[in-house]
């Protein structure tokens, strides 16, 4: 179960609970060592047999360099003192210095890092320069110099310990500063910080509630590193003779220095004991730090994020509502089973995949069967957690070692499952190849695209580098890469997203495979680029007769491409049928509901124009530029945009990535200053106002951000998130605020129990509903919704859009609805505006812009959208001809 991490006392057990096996052992061992040293430090006078400087007991001298004996367990030093006593008292010195140093350096470094990262500007630049200079310097030398400056030489116990701590502090401040600054830079652009700014939260509160609370999770890790470095630096200072005055306090480094000549004479006890003490204490601290880092570093975890389960629960909930009692594992129709025996290129039978995770076994795929014939496109559709990607990777043995795969996957007459790595390697890329979702991560950034294509060719064919290169150029030409002779030597980051996906496809077809598995091949791409890539895949299928397994969540893509469709839900196939039949007559209630939930461009009965109400938003001749880098011209994101929205009206603002549509939204609420032009909200000019001047107007607008994962502060409860605008902008009493929060949450269909929950316990759809409630808390005149549903699954999206429309009808706020999805806009906008390269291309009533576009770009955009109806899509595809083929 997710745990709330509020205080340190709760955090420690939570961390222990999150750990497992070896990690937990290391963590506990570290804690145990630290505890032991703390006890020794506190009770030093009772534990040590003698004083640390005593060289006699009862008037009898100990003698120098005595080997360990009953009187002196650890022997005596060259100065005739008891080694054990010095080691015990040395613990005290070490602990005092560590605590002082860690407290001091965090007290200085953390606020500096926060302010520097948050405020930016010249303060940030100067601090970065100074801190980098300090950081670049060998830390021990710096500590020596500082300690000499502070003491003018050696000094007594208190002064010496303080001086040592301060010297170490100077060395470590830059580390805190750097880590906190970069964490602040990352957090400050999170949508939840923006949404706090939108409602007018003041800077100190933003720094404290929103930034510091999220940055603070780095502190334990730096703190432990700092502590271990502090001990080592202290010992180094002592060893070189610049530490604490030896008569004032026992210090391990100093003792090691005195033991230096002993080492050549075989006297081991004077050095081994204090040295071991240093090793042990640093070991304890480092074990804790290292385990914390491992546990808290999400990149190294072997389990899914907490949110996945909430999202899946949400989809399950929708499913159950739609389908009633039907068991998901029952397949209602399987045309493939009834059809005459076909020659399948790839056939899966009873394929099941199970993952071992920290949280136990997860059944990702529960025994699915389908096949794909040569020249056929089979689409596998489903929402998050349906297991569609996992099953395709299982076929090629590309799952991590925590996965167990059973069943059968036959390629022609060969069984792929259970093959050894050596046996399956020649099949990968040669007979079965893959196209990945995100082309920018599927290509290795440090090699040219040609190198990577050639690598694939040479893995299977014994050809010379020169021939392979020629083939690579041919392939790039085949996939429609412009200027392939040159582009073959480009690195991935020099190509656009669509071009990168073409490279990935070129690799996939390099060895004329029998089967291509395309895993969401166009999800990361703009709609016009998507159309071109899909076109390319189809033409390759026609030319090469390849079988294609197309994994997607987009019903439009399915209608556009598929011969047959496999619908998956939670690891099971609920229905499979030829595409035409499936869309015309879906048999399974889930399929039916899924199809109903998909907005269909051109068939939506969106709202008409509203009456001549009052103007709420008026944007005049807006220009927004971002300064370029050194010697680079400024980038103009928004170029002379003029638009207005009336009370009760929804303006859909559509465009592809980089069109400037989000910048328009951010500028209208003052998150971004316009370069020129004016913005009026409800008759007040808000452009050009400072944050302070803008604050009274903040209650006039609300903002809903795209990413449900980051639009709510993870450290605040749902109730606190929704109440924040009320706290900032109104004088309501706490009881009134509570009542208002409850009614707001009720209005977005989240009952009372959600108030206490934290964002990570909610699904994506629920979080977007919370965002909506927060945005509406102050009864705004204007709501900006920036892609509010694009991160959600189809069925969840439908529910959120429905809720949105209902609230908008009831509350009559004006809304700027920003989206890349024309079909979504078609369901709810009164008017539609189209942007490209920062310019407003076309604006007008919804029917007119989407139904009868005047501008070429709008026409292309609309033609590129695949609609979820195979027959209609075929007509659209023929009608558009080659309008799109040369874009990407």
């Amino acid at each position: 179960m997710p745990t709330r991490r509020l205080s340190l006392s709760k955090a420690v057990p939570a961390v222990v609970r999150q750990s497992h096996g070896l990690q937990r052992f290391m963590l506990l061992l570290g804690f145990a060592i630290i505890a032991a040293f703390l006890i020794i430090a506190i009770f030093a006078p009772w534990i040590a047999p003698y004083g640390f400087n005593d060289d006699r007991s009862g008037g009898v001298l100990f003698g120098t360099q005595q080997a360990p004996s009953a009187d002196h367990w650890f022997g005596t030093t060259v100065g005739g003192t008891d080694v054990l006593s010095r080691v015990v008292y040395g613990t005290r010195t070490a602990i005092e210095v560590i605590i002082l140093a860690v407290v001091l350096s965090s007290l200085v470094g953390v606020p500096l890092g926060l302010l520097s990262g948050f405020l930016g500007g010249w303060l940030d630049r100067v601090l970065v320069l100074v801190m980098d200079a300090l950081y670049a310097f060998p830390s021990l030398l710096l500590a020596i110099v500082v300690s000499i400056v502070l003491t003018g030489g050696s000094s007594g116990a208190v002064g010496g310990i303080l001086a040592a701590a301060i010297s170490i502090t100077v060395v470590f401040v830059p580390q805190y500063y750097r880590v906190i600054r970069s964490a602040t830079l990352a957090v400050k652009v999170e949508p939840y910080v923006d949404s706090a700014r939108v409602v007018g939260v003041r800077t100190p509160r933003i720094l404290g509630r929103h930034i510091f609370s999220n940055v603070a999770q780095n502190l334990p890790v730096i703190g432990t590193l700092n502590a271990s470095e502090a001990i080592l630096t202290l010992a180094g200072l002592g060893f070189l003779g610049f530490g604490i005055e030896p008569s004032a306090a026992a210090e391990w480094g100093f003792d090691l220095n005195k033991a230096l000549p002993d080492a050549s004479n075989g006297i081991w006890w004077t050095s081994v004991f204090p040295g071991t003490a240093i090793v042990l204490i640093v070991l304890g601290v480092t074990l804790v730090g290292e385990s914390l880092n491992d546990i808290l570093n999400p990149l190294l975890r072997t389990r899914g994020a907490d949110t996945t389960s909430a999202d899946e629960a949400e989809i399950t909930h929708e499913f159950e509502e739609l389908t009633g009692d039907i068991e998901p594992s029952v397949e209602v129709r399987n045309e493939a089973a009834n059809a005459e025996k076909r020659v399948a290129a790839l056939a899966l039978t009873d394929l099941a995949v199970t993952f071992r995770t920290d949280a136990g076994q997860i059944h990702a795929v529960n025994g699915i069967s389908f096949d794909v014939a040569p020249g056929e496109v089979v689409a596998v559709v489903g929402e998050s957690g349906s297991g569609k990607s996992v099953s395709s990777r299982a076929v090629l043995g590309l799952l991590p070692s925590t996965a167990a795969v059973t069943g059968s996957a036959r390629l022609g007459d060969r069984e792929l499952l259970g093959m050894s790595n050596n046996d399956i390697r020649p099949i990968r890329g040669d007979q079965v190849s893959m196209v990945f979702q995100e082309p920018s991560t599927a290509l290795n950034p440090v090699y040219t695209v040609g190198w990577q294509i050639i690598e694939g060719i040479q893995a299977h064919k014994d050809v010379s580098k020169k021939d392979a290169r020629k083939r690579a150029i041919e392939l790039l030409e085949l996939v429609g890469m412009p200027d392939p002779e040159h582009r073959v030597d480009y690195y991935p980051h020099q190509l656009s997203g669509g071009q990168k996906q073409r490279v990935v496809i070129a690799m996939a077809i390099a060895c004329d495979p029998d089967v291509i598995i395309a895993d969401e091949p166009t999800t990361a791409l703009d709609v016009t680029v998507q159309a071109a890539i899909l076109e390319l895949l189809l033409s390759l299928r026609d030319r090469l007769g390849t079988a294609i397994v197309l994994i997607t969540h987009n019903m439009g893509v399915v209608a556009d491409m598929a011969d047959r469709v496999v619908v998956m839900y939670r690891g099971n196939i609920v229905e499979q049928a030829p595409a035409g039949e499936l869309f015309a007559e879906p048999k399974h209630p889930y399929t039916r509901a899924l199809l109903d939930a998909v907005p269909h461009l051109g068939r939506e009965n969106g709202p008409g124009l509203v009456d001549e109400n009052d103007l709420v938003l008026k944007v005049e001749d807006l220009v927004v530029e971002f300064p370029g880098g050194l010697g680079q011209p400024a980038f103009r994101a928004v170029d002379h945009v003029t638009l207005e929205i009336r009370k009760g009206e929804v303006l859909g603002l559509v465009g592809e990535s980089g069109s400037g549509k989000s910048t328009v939204g951010r500028t209208t609420v003052g998150l971004q200053q316009p370069t020129s032009g004016t913005i009026h909200v409800s008759g007040n000019t808000i452009s050009g106002l400072s944050d302070r001047q803008l604050r009274p107007f903040r209650s006039r607008f609300g903002f809903v951000f795209q990413d449900p994962a980051s639009s709510l502060n993870p450290r605040m409860s749902i109730g606190q998130c929704v109440a924040e605008p009320l706290h900032v902008q109104t004088d309501l009493k706490q009881s009134e605020i509570d009542a208002k929060v409850r009614s707001l949450l009720d209005s977005v269909e989240l009952g009372g129990s959600y108030v206490e929950r934290f964002p990570h316990e909610l699904s994506g759809g629920q979080r977007q509903r919370v965002s909506l409630a927060r945005a509406l808390a102050l009864d705004p005149d204007l709501l900006i919704a920036d892609e509010p549903t694009s991160a959600l699954d189809v069925s969840v999206q439908a529910r959120v859009l429905e809720l949105f429309t209902e609230l908008q009808q009831r509350l009559q706020f004006a809304c700027l609805f920003i989206s890349h999805d024309l079909a979504v806009v078609d369901t709810l906008a009164n008017r539609v505006a189209v942007m490209q390269h920062g310019k407003l291309v076309e604006i007008g009533p919804r029917d007119q812009v989407l139904g009868n576009p005047q501008e070429d770009y709008t026409k292309r955009l609309i033609a590129a959208v695949p609609v979820p109806d195979p027959d209609e899509q075929r007509r659209r595809r023929e009608a558009r001809g080659h309008l799109l083929t040369d874009i990407s």
């Binding site: 580390q175 750097r178 271990s228 010992a235 610049f242 090793v279 990968r428 299977h460």
Partner: protein, 361 residues
């Protein structure tokens, strides 16, 4: 060890590809920008050192106070130019540095630039051997640990890495001395006195023992020089090697999860090649970046190692001058170390740019 060392470094963000402009290649342009950025950093460092050394008070009193009367001190101050306004001294210091003049020591009136070249050579030699040990230990063991993640070799190697990090370099040195001196293994100094005298006759005399020995050409002397270098090199090299081990392991584990690794497997590239060409090379980018920061650690470690093994290098000299409170000498040597760190980080940037094309273009 710093937080950055453990926390995974984000891959350098891709810069938008720019059209070539002017006659310079992208790499040269990038390096020019880096050089331009290093200048304010150097200035801050040099100024910091100068100010710190003036905060202590007047260097002559610090060094000779008690031994000389007020008149003699004033005379000495005048001779060293320390009675002039601070800004004049600062200007002289900066202009001197630009000409490669690091000043003169107070206590024994030696040219600091001479000290730097003579003893710097010894430190350079020690750092070279240590880096060799560090690479030999860190990189293969890091790969091994990543390959057997969470299994026995990984557990053992990680504990080993933590242990050698936890052990101060001088304690490791002491243990090595304790272990090797009974067998008569040399454990202090850079060579026997006799060898040192012999090698003084080598021309050109580099004071890099192994180079001098090779120039002399006597195999016995070469062997002896290597024997003397072994223990200090291992002590210092293990320190850095442990850091490399952990870095290589963690970055390799992360790159092995990347999509392009799966993509390479999916096109039938052999597992060995996937690890070597795709995972390892990409994992090296952050490793090399952090290596730049390790130079400072290595130099600090060299000071301690030199004291432990009486290896008469720049760190050993520095501690002697620190103890003598000769702050003009300290100022010169510390400034030189700062310059070396900056130049080294510049070199590291160049290597990163060679490995990672995203930085270059």
């Amino acid at each position: 060890m710093t937080a950055e060392v453990l926390a995974p470094l984000e891959p350098t963000p891709a810069q938008p590809s720019r059209k070539r402009r002017g006659p310079l290649s992208p790499l040269a342009r990038y390096m020019l920008v880096r050089v331009a950025l290093i200048i304010p950093m150097l200035w801050v460092l040099v100024t910091m050192v100068f100010l710190l050394m003036r905060v202590i008070g007047d260097p002559v009193t610090a060094a000779q106070g008690g031994r000389l009367n007020a008149e003699q001190i004033a005379e000495r101050k005048h001779a060293a130019g320390l009675d002039r306004p601070m800004l004049t001294q600062y200007w002289e210091y900066i202009t001197g540095l630009l000409h490669g003049d690091f000043g003169t020591t107070l206590t024994d009136h030696r040219e600091i630039s001479g000290i730097l070249t003579h003893y710097g050579a010894a430190t350079l030699e020690l750092s070279f051997w240590a880096l060799l040990v560090a690479f030999a230990v860190g990189i293969p063991l890091g790969r091994l640990a990543a390959r057997y993640r969470d299994r026995l070799p990984d557990v053992v190697l990680r504990l080993f890495a933590i242990l050698i990090y936890a052990a101060p370099v001088f304690f490791v040195g002491l243990l090595l001395k304790l272990a090797f001196t009974p067998f008569g293994w040399p454990s202090s100094g850079r060579s026997s006195t006799q060898t040192e005298l012999t090698l003084d006759n080598v021309h050109p005399h580099t004071n890099i023992m192994i180079v001098d020995a090779l120039l002399w050409g006597d195999p016995k002397i070469i062997l002896e020089v290597l024997q003397y270098a072994l223990l200090p090199a291992v002590a210092l090299g293990l320190l850095t090697g442990g850091v490399f081990l952990r870095l290589v392991r963690i970055n390799l584990l992360q790159t092995l999860r990347m999509d392009y690794v799966t993509a390479a497997r999916a096109r039938g590239v052999s597992e060995r090649r996937v690890v070597r060409k795709h995972a390892f090379r990409n994992a090296l980018v952050p490793v090399v970046t952090v290596m730049g920061m390790q130079i400072a650690l290595l130099l600090a470690g060299a000071v301690l190692t030199e004291t432990t093994f009486e290896w008469k290098g720049i760190g050993y000299e520095l501690t002697q001058y620190l103890k003598a409170r000769d702050f003009l000498a300290v100022q010169g040597i510390v400034t030189a170390i700062a310059v070396i760190v900056c130049v080294a980080s510049l070199l590291i940037d160049a290597i990163v740019a060679l490995v990672d094309p995203r930085v270059r273009f």
